[in-house]
Symmetry: C2
C-alpha cells in the first residue's frame, strides 16, 4: 500500500489540514492537492503541514486551460506553487474550445478545434522552460472525449504523448487516468509508448449509467465498468514506479463521511489495483 | 439538397407513413428507417410506402448488439428487412460489455472489454456472408466513447475500419457520424482511410452541457460545438456520394412539431452541410 495516494477531492469536504491528518491516521504516504484548497489553507501553511506529516505530494491539480484568454500568468503561479510543495507533477487540464465554459450554456465561443489544439501547443512552449527552471514536471492529462468541448481538447493518451514529445520526459509528462482512457482501443500500446513520460497514474471507476452531471461520473474502483488489471499492469510494465492516486468526483461519496470513503478507497485499492503493480 | 436524408428518429413522433408523407411534402428524397417503427407499420406496407413515394432508404437502423446472448438470429432478420427495403446499409451498433443494459443499473456483467471486441469480430464473421448473399451492406458505427460500456465497444473510426477490413467494402462499411467522432484527433485521416468503406454520413451536433440522459445529447446542426466543414469536406474528398442523414435524438425536438423540426433541419443542412459536399 505504500504507493497509495489520496487525491484530496476524493474526500472533498476535508480541508488540506484535515486531509493531511486523515492520511497520517490511515497510514497514507502521499497526497494529491488542489490549488484552490491549498490557497484556502495558505501555501506556506500547506508546505509546513505536508512536510511535518512526511507526505509526498503526488500531484498538484491543476494548471492548464491554455485555450482561454491570457493563460500564462496563472500557469506560472501554478508552477511556482508546485515547486514550493515539491509536487511530483503539475496536472495540466489543457482547456476546451475557446469561450466554452464548463457547466454553462454556450455563449460566444469558437468551434475551431484545430486552432484550440494549436493554442495548447503554444502555451506549452511558453511554459515548459519556466517549469524546467523550477524543477516542476508538467503532466498533460488527456480527458474523456465527452469533455472535449469544455475542458480538454486532448482526448487520448497518444495525442497527449504527441504534445509532450518535443520536451524532455522530466519536463513534460502525461497522466494516465483510468476513467478517461479505459475505452480507448489503443490505450495499452500507448501506455507502453509513454514509458518514462508517465507522470501520474490516477484510478477511479467509470459509472454506468452516467449521472446527470457527467463530471461526477467517477466511481469507487469496483463500482463501475473498468477492468483495472490490464491498465495497471501496462503502467507497471512501462516502468512507472510513482504514487497511484485515487481521484473520485462523486456526489454520493462527497456527501459521505470522508473517513469511511478513505477506508473504502484503501480497501478497494488493495483488492483491485495493488496486486497488479508488480512491486518487488 | 438532393442528398438530404431524414433519419426517422429526428421526427420520432411520426410513424413510418407520416414520415414518408413528410418527406414527400418537403421534397426529401431519402429516409433512414428504424426497425421497430418499420415493424409497427408492417414491413410489406413500409416497402410499398417508400416505393410509391420514390424514396431511397439511406439506412436501416439497426442491427448489432453482437456482444449479447445469441445475437445472430435477430441480425439475420435485420439483414432480411434491409434487403426487402433496399436499404443502402444496415447500421450496426455493435454492443457494449456483455450484460450491461443501456439505461439500467449495473447487474451481472463482464468487464472483459477485449473479450467483448472479440465477440464483435466473431459475430461479423458469421453475418457477413449472409449479408453478402442478400446484397446488404453492414455499416459498423463507432459510437462516442461515453457509450462504450452499454452500447458499442467500437469507439473510433480507425477501430471500426480495422474491424471492417477483412471484408469487401461493399459488404462491411463504416458509418461516419459527426456526434460520435468530432473530437477524435485522428478523425480526418481516418475518414480518408475509410474511402469507399463509408456507408453512411450522419450529421447532428454535440450539445454542451450534455443533458441528464447523455443519449439525448444530440442537437440540431448549429446548436452545439461541432465544426461540420472539415468533417463534411473530408467525407466528400474520400469519395462518398451517398445520402447524408440528419439523425437527432433530442427531447426538445421530439416534443416539438415534426413539421417544424424537418423545416429547421433542411434549413440548417443547407447552411452548414451542403456547401461542403462539393457536388458538381
Amino acid at each position: 500500500m505504500r504507493r497509495f495516494s489520496l487525491n484530496q477531492w476524493t474526500t472533498k469536504r476535508w480541508t488540506v489540514a484535515e486531509a493531511v491528518d486523515g492520511c497520517v491516521r490511515h497510514g497514507v504516504e502521499a497526497i494529491g492537492l488542489w490549488r484552490q484548497d491549498v490557497a484556502a489553507q495558505g501555501l506556506d501553511e500547506t508546505v509546513k503541514l505536508v512536510r511535518a506529516a512526511g507526505l509526498r505530494v503526488s500531484s498538484l491539480c491543476r494548471g492548464g486551460f491554455l485555450t482561454g484568454p491570457d493563460p500564462l500568468a496563472n500557469n506560472r503561479k501554478a508552477i511556482d506553487e508546485a515547486a514550493a510543495l515539491g509536487a511530483s507533477c503539475l496536472v495540466m487540464v489543457v482547456g476546451g474550445l475557446p469561450g466554452v465554459v464548463p457547466g454553462e450554456p454556450l455563449g460566444a465561443f469558437s468551434r475551431d478545434l484545430a486552432g484550440a489544439r494549436a493554442r495548447v501547443a503554444e502555451g506549452l512552449e511558453a511554459l515548459a522552460p519556466y517549469a524546467a527552471e523550477r524543477g516542476v514536471r508538467l503532466a498533460l492529462e488527456p480527458l474523456h472525449p465527452m469533455y472535449c468541448a469544455d475542458r480538454a481538447v486532448l482526448s487520448t493518451l497518444g495525442q497527449a504523448i504527441d504534445f509532450a514529445e518535443p520536451y524532455p520526459p522530466e519536463v513534460v509528462g502525461v497522466v494516465v487516468d483510468s476513467f478517461h482512457l479505459w475505452w480507448d482501443p489503443d490505450v495499452l500500446p500507448q501506455i507502453a509508448r509513454a514509458g518514462s513520460r508517465i507522470a501520474s497514474y490516477q484510478v477511479c471507476d467509470f459509472l454506468v449509467p452516467l449521472p446527470a452531471d457527467v463530471l461526477l461520473g467517477r466511481g469507487m474502483m469496483g463500482d463501475g465498468v473498468i477492468d483495472f488489471a490490464p491498465l495497471t499492469r501496462a503502467v507497471a510494465e512501462a516502468g512507472y514506479d510513482g504514487d497511484v492516486e485515487v481521484e473520485i468526483f462523486n456526489a454520493d461519496l462527497w456527501a459521505a463521511d470522508p473517513e469511511t470513503v478513505l477506508t473504502t478507497a484503501r480497501h478497494r485499492y488493495a483488492q483491485l489495483i495493488a496486486p497488479d503493480l508488480q512491486e518487488v
